[in-house]
């Protein structure tokens, strides 16, 4: 038997399927228990949306892989299913149900992997009367530098979190300065200088950073713990033509924890610096007309949340009112808006915005599998009762 043949036999074998299922059982169990300490999001990243699970989990230095992650198991299972299909596919009534079930599982697994890779979740927090054309993802930050020299329009440059984490110098085309990331804090504590317990120095020499100290603290692990991401940056002017000019504009502390934005002037006008949740801009806008939050009479048990919004998309000449409420989302332009909660004294509505190009996959899979199961179950049930009757007749 050729190597290729042996490999194909292995990859399409039921043993491999059982091994994958068993590993998935262990993974799901361990992942569920881990949620008690790390919360759903961290566990999702580490256990289910990863190729391998590493130990120790926190260390950046020496670590070893201890278990296959969700993506690896899913991918192997997917390949196993496809290969098994290739190998065993026979068209007859006995097998139709099984083929449909496993075909549906292939669609579901593939859809799941696709969703993990390509879906984007964000939130839209909106107060009555407010209009927004962007949603935010509070799990990631971006550093924005706003050029306010032109009074007609602001020019916004955003540096994503991943780039901040890498550190070094960021060259931004069209800006008269470079950004040097001196330090990036995954989670930080910011204290007023006069209140700081340690004799920590000031965080930066310009802006708010001159009055506060910043220090790194371990990442939040509790379920509702939030990391306060900060960075100390230096702005270095560039001469025309990309040659670094001498000197520095100074250093700034940028952080989610700073309430106010910071301004500075450079190249003949004002600029603004802000660290904020990452934004996704849309080619349409949403205005909240009314937000209702009902409780059952005489209790705090929520009965219903509903947001009455106006959706305006000039490029598609759309201008309509939509009611978003529990179990009734708005689907528009590839994105889905769900009523997720409320903020600030019941006044602000929070909508969950999901962009998931493969959201139909589970629906298709579900129909296919349901059909397959029905055929299979009927086929076996008839056989089962027939056998039982025969046994009894004996």
């Amino acid at each position: 038997m050729s190597m290729w043949r042996r490999f194909f036999d292995f990859i399409s074998s039921m043993k491999l399927a059982i091994a994958c299922l068993a590993a998935a059982t262990v993974l799901v169990f361990a992942g569920t228990l881990a949620q008690v300490h790390f919360g759903t999001h961290v566990v999702q990243e580490r256990y289910f949306q990863s190729m391998l699970i590493w130990w120790p989990t926190e260390s950046h230095g020496f670590r070893i892989p201890v278990f296959p992650g969700g993506h690896l198991l899913g991918a192997v299972l997917l390949v196993n299913l496809l290969a098994a299909h290739l190998r065993r596919f026979r068209l007859n009534l006995r097998n139709t149900g099984m083929h449909l079930i496993h075909g549906g599982l292939i669609i579901m697994l593939a859809g799941g992997l696709f969703t993990d890779l390509f879906s984007v979740e964000s939130q839209l927090q909106i107060a009555p009367g407010e209009t927004k054309n962007y949603s935010e993802d509070a799990r990631f930050v971006e550093l924005v530098i706003v050029d306010q020299r032109n009074s007609d329009a602001d020019r916004v440059t955003a540096i994503p979190e991943a780039r901040l984490r890498r550190g070094g110098t960021v060259n931004l085309s069209g800006l008269p300065f470079q950004v040097v990331i001196q330090h990036y804090y995954e989670n930080s504590q910011i204290q007023m200088l006069d209140k700081a317990e340690t004799n920590a120095g000031r965080a930066a020499d310009h802006g708010v950073g001159a009055q506060v100290s910043v220090r790194e603290i371990p990442r939040a692990t509790s379920v509702d713990g939030v990391d306060l991401k900060s960075a100390v940056i230096q702005l270095v002017p560039t001469a025309e033509g990309g040659v670094a000019a001498t000197g520095s504009l100074g250093t700034w502390l940028v952080s989610e924890g700073l309430g106010a934005t910071q301004t500075f002037s450079c190249a003949g006008g004002p600029w603004r610096l802000e660290m904020r949740p990452v934004r996704y801009y849309k080619p349409y806008s949403i205005t909240l007309q009314k937000f209702t939050h009902e409780n059952y009479p005489g209790t705090d048990i929520p009965k219903n949340f509903a947001s009455q919004i106006t959706l305006i998309d000039p490029s598609h000449s759309v201008n309509r009112d939509v009611l978003i409420y529990m179990n009734h989302p708005l689907r528009y332009a590839g994105e889905t808006y769900y009523q997720s909660g409320f903020g600030k004294d019941d006044q602000t509505s929070i909508l969950q915005v999901v962009h998931n190009p493969s959201f139909v996959a589970p629906y298709i899979a579900c129909v296919v599998i349901g059909f397959g199961m029905l055929i299979q179950f009927c086929y076996h049930f008839v056989g089962f009762t027939r056998r039982t009757n025969v046994t009894r007749a004996k």
């Binding site: 009479p297 005489g298 929520p302 989302p329 899979a365």
Partner: protein
């Protein structure tokens, strides 16, 4: 004798059931607590009879639906509630609060003795202490509380419930509340006139305005402490929205005295003055007024009273024990006759179980499973039905034995889950959809039923095989076929339920799968079923292997059903059950022990089996 035995047993069962379904009669000269208990009120967002309010409160206070006094007399829940609402000084002396934790007793300087129940008067000196300690404990997440903290937290909660009830329908110090309310009603127009005139009002008007303000404040504070809303609003729009009012709120700011509030005042006065005839007259008048004004609510409330009185799940629980005994008897001798009796009794028990389930659905206007409590009831119900089918096919008593054991155990579990009060509580907004509750939740729960049934069959296989000589080749094969069939059934329902849950999640949270613990639990069952079926199809396991894996299925299912709720994270976690944790661990331990037992080489089994 053998021929008549089934009918004799059924006759006895039916007679004993019928006698317990009969409503108690009120003798002349006694308070009519039945009629009183049927009156509907709004509490915790749901219209329910006072009887339910009373039972739920007593369960929170002392874990039982009745109150035993120190002289041995037993009060019904409604009798106790009438005392709490109308005659607080008497109710304060009843030993209504259960305290089991020695550290909590130590907090008051008491030693743990034979007494377990304490009265409000005994606890009154320590209220501030309990409040402080209870609040401290409340700041800790329920999963992390020590037994002492849980106990003090629960005691504080019980005291809040009790004091709210006490201050719901009349001020504690009110003697002749009817007269007071009457006078207040007369003050309203005068006070309005005086307010209109302002400074120009004459002194007597000003004095009346002052009296009016004082009473308004008194009723305002009554409205703030009340936990029940017994007054249907007169305003049609408010009635449409179901916004019933507390007595206090109905007196303040509605420009008059609502007749229902007057009726409660008169009822209370008569009760306090120990005049049963007057009380009964008032109760009857209120009940007929309520029936005319709110026919639907009144109808449901009296049905719920009946439901409470019958306690269908308690009755079916007892019958399942009887079924199990009958089946065991049928294995020892007299098999045909006892087996038939067991089937009939199971059918009766199932009918009562079904009645209870249907009654809950009617009262709540919801599909059968809405919380953990109802899931336990539904699992039992599902198992009994599948068990009856197995019995019909195999006729060897095994289906019935498993059905009755699981039916009994799940109802016991449900009984213990009812400790937090109303089991027909209102559903949070996201759950407020009957389609998904009816499909997703029901399929998942049927999946649980089937998994537990398969596990039970496996338990029977192992215990009979290892410890007795009764497991013949044929019966082992029959058991294995049953187990396999039931696992197929479980796979179907668990899978369909899980996928439906994904679709629901996609509809309401925007993602098909979110790795929430309860979702993971459901996935674990599906994965485990898939493993069992593939291992069997691939020939990697045979009879014994199937049984071992089915036993572990019990562990997986109990983790999914209960374990994940104990983690206290995620969108599905509805309350931590610290008391259940040792039981869950014990169950898991027992299953592992049985798996180990099954691993003993076949040559050492007492039954002669070959693979």
């Amino acid at each position: 004798m053998k021929r008549y035995f089934p009918w004799v047993v059924i006759l006895l069962v039916v007679v004993s059931l019928a006698s317990s379904w009969r409503m108690p009669k009120t003798a002349p000269g006694e308070f009519d607590f039945k009629k009183f208990g049927e009156i509907p009120v709004l509490a915790a967002g749901r219209l329910k009879p006072l009887d339910t309010v009373a039972r739920n409160a007593l369960v929170i206070l002392r874990g039982r639906q009745t109150l035993r006094l120190e002289n041995g007399q037993t009060l019904t829940a409604t009798h106790w509630l009438a005392d709490v609402l109308f005659n607080a000084p008497a109710a304060d002396q009843y030993p209504a609060f259960a305290i089991n934790n020695p550290e909590v007793l130590g907090l008051f300087g008491w030693q743990q003795g034979d007494r377990k129940y304490f009265s409000f008067d005994e606890l009154a000196p320590f209220l501030e202490k309990i409040d402080g300690q209870g609040q401290q404990a409340g700041e800790i997440e329920s999963a992390q509380r020590s037994p002492y903290q849980t106990a003090i937290y629960n005691l504080r909660n019980a005291l809040v419930v009790y004091q709210q009830l006490k201050r719901s329908v009349r001020p504690e110090d009110a003697q002749d509340f009817s007269a007071e309310v009457e006078a207040y009603g007369k003050l309203i127009p005068i006070a309005m006139e005086a307010t209109r005139k302002g400074d120009k009002a004459d002194p007597s008007e000003k004095e009346k305005l002052g009296m009016f303000d004082k009473l308004t404040q008194r009723y305002q504070s009554l409205a703030e402490t009340s936990s029940i809303q017994p007054v249907p609003p007169l305003d049609a729009a408010a009635r449409q929205r179901g916004e019933w009012l507390s007595i206090g709120a109905s007196l303040v700011g509605t420009g008059g005295v609502n007749p229902t509030a007057k009726a409660y005042a008169a009822m209370g006065d008569a009760y306090r003055a120990n005049k049963p005839d007057v009380f009964n007259g008032e109760v009857n008048a209120l009940a007929s007024a309520m029936a005319a004004q709110e026919p639907v609510a009144t109808g449901r409330a009296s049905f719920e009273f009946l439901f409470n009185h019958i306690a269908p799940f308690y009755q079916s629980m007892q019958l399942y024990v009887l079924v199990f005994l009958l089946v065991c008897g049928s294995w020892l001798g007299w098999s045909r006759s006892l087996n038939r009796t067991a089937i009939y009794v199971t059918l009766i028990a199932l009918a009562i179980h079904t009645f209870g389930l249907a009654a809950r659905m009617y009262l709540q206007g919801r599909p059968p499973v809405t919380n953990l409590y109802s899931s336990a009831i539904f699992i039992g119900w599902g198992t009994v039905i599948i068990g009856l089918f197995l019995e019909r096919m195999f006729r060897d008593g095994i289906g019935l034995a498993c059905a009755s054991v699981i039916g009994f155990i799940t109802l016991i579990i449900a009984h213990h889950l009812a400790g937090s009060g109303d089991t027909l509580e209102m559903l949070r907004a996201v759950l407020d959809t009957n389609i998904w509750l009816a499909t997703h939740v029901v399929s998942i729960t049927i999946g649980y039923s089937a998994m537990f049934l398969a596990g039970m069959l496996a338990m029977l296989y192992v215990i009979r095989g290892v410890l007795t000589r009764s497991l013949t080749r044929e019966s082992a094969q029959a058991l294995a076929r049953m187990t396999y069939g039931v696992i197929c059934f479980a796979t179907l329902f668990s899978f369909v339920g899980t996928v439906l849950g994904g679709i629901w999640a996609d509809q309401s949270w925007g993602r098909f799968w979110g790795w929430d613990p309860k979702e993971n639990g459901a996935l674990l069952i599906v994965l485990w079923c898939a493993i069992i079926l593939h291992a069997r199809w691939g020939g990697y396991i045979r009879q014994r292997g199937l049984m071992v894996l089915a036993l572990f299925g019990n562990v997986v299912t109990s983790f999914s059903w209960f374990g994940v709720n104990m983690l206290g994270v995620g969108l599905h976690s509805y309350g931590f059950m610290d008391k259940a944790f040792p039981w869950l661990m014990g169950f898991v331990g027992s299953q592992l022990a049985l798996m180990a037992m099954a691993a003993i080489p076949l040559s050492r089994w007492r039954s002669r089996l070959t693979e």
